[in-house]
Amino acid sequence: MKTSRQWWLATGFLIVAVSVSATPNGVQLVDDDLQPVADAVIAIYGDGTAPTATINKRADVDQVDRQFTPYVSVVEAGTRVYFPNSDDIRHHVYSFSPAKRFELRLYHGTTAEPVVFEQAGKVVLGCNIHDDMIGYIYVVDTPYYAVTDASGAARFVQLPEGNLRYQVQHPQLAEPVVGELSAASELKTINVGRLLPDPRKTKPRTELEALFDR
């Protein structure tokens, strides 16, 4: 996980680098049971303010131990995403999501071409060889976004002034949770409601076991 943390820190620095904002803001996400919600994507939209140009933005979604790392990524539309393969086996990464449909046939290392995500939306990543591998890339059209850590917290270095809207997306939420705030200072805790089962933990049982499930 050290590697994933380093990447997350790197991304954070990038955000800090491109944002001109006041004091950093923190937000806490909980579910109905007031448990922290990790891996949630929060996008903030200012009141009429357009984001800065995002040319040459890039992101990496690695494949480590037959898992997409990070599990959940958020990128601004137009970002070029690389899919390096850190495993010593090949992967066949694909997405049938409407926001971005692509297929990276069997490859090793960093031989795969980067994929540019232009359209905002949810992209579910899969591997044709390893059915258990699943990853999410949320494409947003705002420069203000963050992903909650294991404690359900996210931190924004810079936020727009005035009224703002937020949009929370999560693999275990069927629809995005949205809301409006009169000031960035109000962004404290967001309750996302009830979560669906974690798709990673829904391990398919053997067929024979399944036969008894009637």
Binding site: Y94, F96, V124, L125, G126, C127, N128, D131, M133, I134, P199, T202, P204, R205, E207, L208, A210, L211, D213, R214
Partner: protein, 771 residues
């Protein structure tokens, strides 16, 4: 029907064995049948488990084939991009590849995305229901579903890209060939049934048309739970295939006949065994019954032979058991009875004292002896001997000595004739074959010339022997014996040692018997009559006397002389009856005559045997008083010879009579050798000189001398003298001249019956008769 013991035993044994064997047979049969049936049910249940396993295995195989479909990247892409035409073509391709009957894809929300077949709304609802039944929508699932009355095994698998974007389902029809396959594997008839709300419908199976019709016709409902039962000669086992969305049950069947086939074989064997055992038991029982009853029958047969007097048939002593013991005891008994019977027979036929044959053997022995005489043309002497004065020996010495005497006599007689029998106390019968009877009889006496020589006492005995000869004196045993007895009596009476039977004795003897038998009725029937003969006192006419005499005229035998019949009656000891009858008649006659004016001095004869009766004086006295007669006028006459024989014993009676006033007269005086001393002792009043001295008195000087001296002697003793047999006037005159007191005889009158006498007496007393 009368059952022999053997059959009873046989029946009881057989019945017991039969009950036992049948009980064992039935129990064993029941147990085996139960076990077989139970085993059949177990097999059926195991078949059910196998069946379920097979179905599940097939489902597993089907699931893998579905997995192949949903793992196909192209298919995933087609589904993810909702490319219906591609999906349908892929479904058909896959369906044909795996041999499925239906292939379809459902969206996660249950909408039908694509299908290889047209599925109506009802079928689609069922599919949705089957799929919605589980929360685990991302897993492979199995669901048997009935579509269009056909059972399909459906397997659903999620199409993941990588999230589940749809569910692909593949349905495999459960048809005849699958059922046949299952039948081959389980060896059970398989049928699939769907339980509707109202009806139970047949889906598929291996049932024949008949069986199917039978099941459909019966009001058959699927059991709620898996179970086994027996119906229509079949064992059934229901196995639930599914409950949702529809209830489907598989019924596994096996015919009872097939189940029971091993049992039938076993049953046949058991039955054969049972009957074999029964047969063996029957034969054994018969053998046992025989072994028990045969000795019993042998015993019974032997007992019957014993009853017929055959003691020689021994019962076979087969065995050492109780029956053998019985047979031995039986044989012992038989021998003991034979010995004892011999002893008893010997004792019955022989005299224990002398060892001679006894009286019972007389006739058998005589028959043998007569037959022998006939054969050898010999005379047979039938001799009866008795021992003279044996009573004196017995009384004088001792009865033991008497026994010894008898034994010795028997021994000596037997030496003379082996055919010697003991008839009674001292009487022996000898049967001697001889040509010279007198010599043979002499030989008997000769044997007793020597004294008997018994221990200390030396006894001499003589025998009286009477004998008759065969065939001269009789041709049968009865006659010969009787005649020999008569001869013996004669010998005894005559005091002679030997007496042969003389012809006529037997007739005389028979006449005596005849007289004796006629005697008792002679009084009442008037055959007996008293006659009176006058006794004349020549000096005093009025002292008329009469001697009462008796006449018996028998209707057949005619006149029977008093001398003859009185002797017979005396010997039979019945004289008293006659005497008393005569006394009563005489006294009555005297009383009657007295009434007519004839006073009579009555003379009545008494037997010496009468004088031995103590009550006689009293009887006569009573009669005297009854007829109002004087004892003085009653003379009781007793013959001299008789009174001399029994003088001592009759003395008391004579004295009693004398005391009563009766007069005693000695009749037939001069024939009895009486002594004067004896005469002197007796209370005698009269002597009647025997007529043998009187009849020839005219001519015979000796008689005159005897009569004269007798008269003198009598007068000397104070006795009245009467002369009997006075037949002539000369005799009368002589007697009167010589002092005879009373005269009696034909000169005066013969004995007369009462009425004639009465006439005569009246004439005499009136002097009409010259006396």
């Amino acid at each position: 029907m009368r059952l022999t013991y053997r059959y009873k035993l046989l029946l009881i044994l057989l019945a017991m064995v039969m009950v036992l064997v049948l009980a064992i047979y039935l129990a064993t049969r029941a147990v085996i049948r139960d076990a077989v049936t139970q085993q059949a049910y177990l097999d059926l249940e195991r078949g059910g488990e196998l069946f379920s396993q097979l179905l599940q295995d097939r489902a597993g195989q089907l699931a893998q084939s579905v997995g192949v479909l949903v793992d196909d990247f192209g298919f995933k892409e087609a589904v993810a991009t909702a490319d219906r035409a591609t999906i349908v073509s892929a479904l058909n391709n896959h369906r044909l590849r795996v041999g499925a009957d239906i292939a379809l894809v459902l969206e996660p929300n249950g909408e039908l995305l694509a299908s290889s077949q047209v599925i109506n709304a009802e079928g689609f609802a069922l599919l949705s229901k089957a799929l919605a039944g589980s929360n685990e929508i991302n897993n492979t699932r199995y669901a048997p579903i009935v579509l269009d009355n056909r059972l399909y095994q459906f397997v659903f698998a999620p199409v993941r890209a990588p999230l589940t974007v749809a569910n692909a389902g593949v349905g495999f029809k459960v048809d005849q060939s699958l059922a046949d396959h299952l039948k081959r594997l389980t060896d059970l008839d398989v049928s699939f049934w769907r339980q509707g709300a109202e009806t139970t419908s047949y889906l598929a199976g291996t049932l024949s048309d008949n069986d199917l019709a039978l099941m459909q016709s019966s009001d058959w409902r699927m059991p709620d739970q898996d179970s086994t039962w027996l119906a229509d000669e079949k064992l059934n086992n229901s196995v639930t295939v599914t409950r949702v969305p529809q209830q489907v049950v598989a019924v596994l069947q096996v015919p009872l006949e097939k189940v029971m086939q091993p049992f039938a074989v076993l049953d046949t064997q058991l039955l054969t065994l049972t009957f074999s055992f029964l047969l063996a038991a029957g034969m054994l029982a018969m053998f046992m019954a025989r072994s028990v009853t045969r000795p019993v029958r042998e015993l019974a047969g032997s007992a019957r032979k014993m009853a017929e007097g055959d003691y020689a048939s021994q019962v076979p002593e087969h065995s050492a058991d109780e029956l053998g013991d019985l047979a031995r005891a039986f044989n012992q008994m038989q021998r003991a009875i034979a010995v004892r019977e011999k002893e008893i027979t010997y004792q019955a036929e022989h005299d224990s004292l002398t060892g001679l044959a006894n009286r019972a053997q007389v006739f058998p022995c005589m028959r043998v002896a007569i037959a022998a005489a006939n054969e050898q043309h010999l005379k047979l002497i039938v001799a009866i001997a008795d021992i003279q004065k044996f009573t004196q020996i017995n009384d004088g010495l001792s009865s033991e000595t008497g026994d010894k005497v008898l034994a010795e006599v028997a021994r000596r007689l037997q030496a003379i004739s082996p055919s010697t029998l003991r008839l009674g106390s001292d009487e022996f019968l000898l049967l001697i074959h001889s040509v010279d009877p007198p010599a043979a009889i002499d030989a008997i006496h000769l044997a007793f010339n020597n004294n008997l020589g018994l221990d200390a006492i030396d006894v001499h005995i003589d025998l009286n022997v009477g004998y008759a000869q065969y065939p001269d004196d009789g041709d049968n045993a009865d006659l010969l014996l009787r005649r020999a007895n008569l001869a013996l009596s004669e010998a005894r009476l005559g005091h002679i040692k030997s007496c042969a039977y003389q012809s006529g004795w037997d007739e005389k003897h028979l006449r005596r018997l005849h007289i004796l038998s006629a005697y008792s009725t002679a009084f009442e029937s008037g055959q007996m009559q008293i006659y009176l003969q006058p006794k004349i006192n020549p000096h005093i006419k009025q002292e008329l006397g009469a001697e009462v005499l008796i006449r018996w005229i028998h209707p057949e035998m005619g006149f029977i002389s008093p001398e003859e019949f009185i002797l017979v009656i005396e010997s039979a000891g019945q004289i008293s009856l006659l005497t008393r009858w005569v006394l009563a008649q005489a006294f009555a006659a005297a009383a009657a005559l007295r009434d007519e004016g004839v006073e009579l001095i009555l003379s009545v004869n008494l037997s010496v045997l009468d004088l031995l009766e103590d009550d006689l004086p009293e009887y006569i006295n009573a009669l005297t008083m009854q007829y109002d007669l004087s004892a003085q006028s009653i003379y009781l006459e007793v013959t001299e010879s008789a009174i001399m024989r029994e003088a001592d014993r009759s003395l008391a009676t004579l004295r009693a009579l004398d005391a009563m006033g009766f007069k005693l007269s000695i009749d037939d005086y001069g024939t009895g050798f009486s002594s004067l001393s004896q005469l002197k002792k007796l209370p005698v009043h009269e002597l009647k000189i025997d007529k043998s001295f009187v009849m020839n008195l005219d001519a015979d000087k000796d008689d005159q001398q005897i009569v004269k001296s007798t008269i003198e002697l009598g007068h000397t003793l104070g006795l009245s003298i009467t002369a009997e047999g006075v037949e002539t006037a000369n005799t009368r005159d002589w007697l009167i001249a010589n002092g005879c007191d009373i005269l009696q005889g034909y000169f005066y009158s013969k004995p007369l019956p009462l009425d004639a006498f009465s006439l005569w007496a009246k004439k005499y007393l009136t002097g009409d008769i010259d006396a």
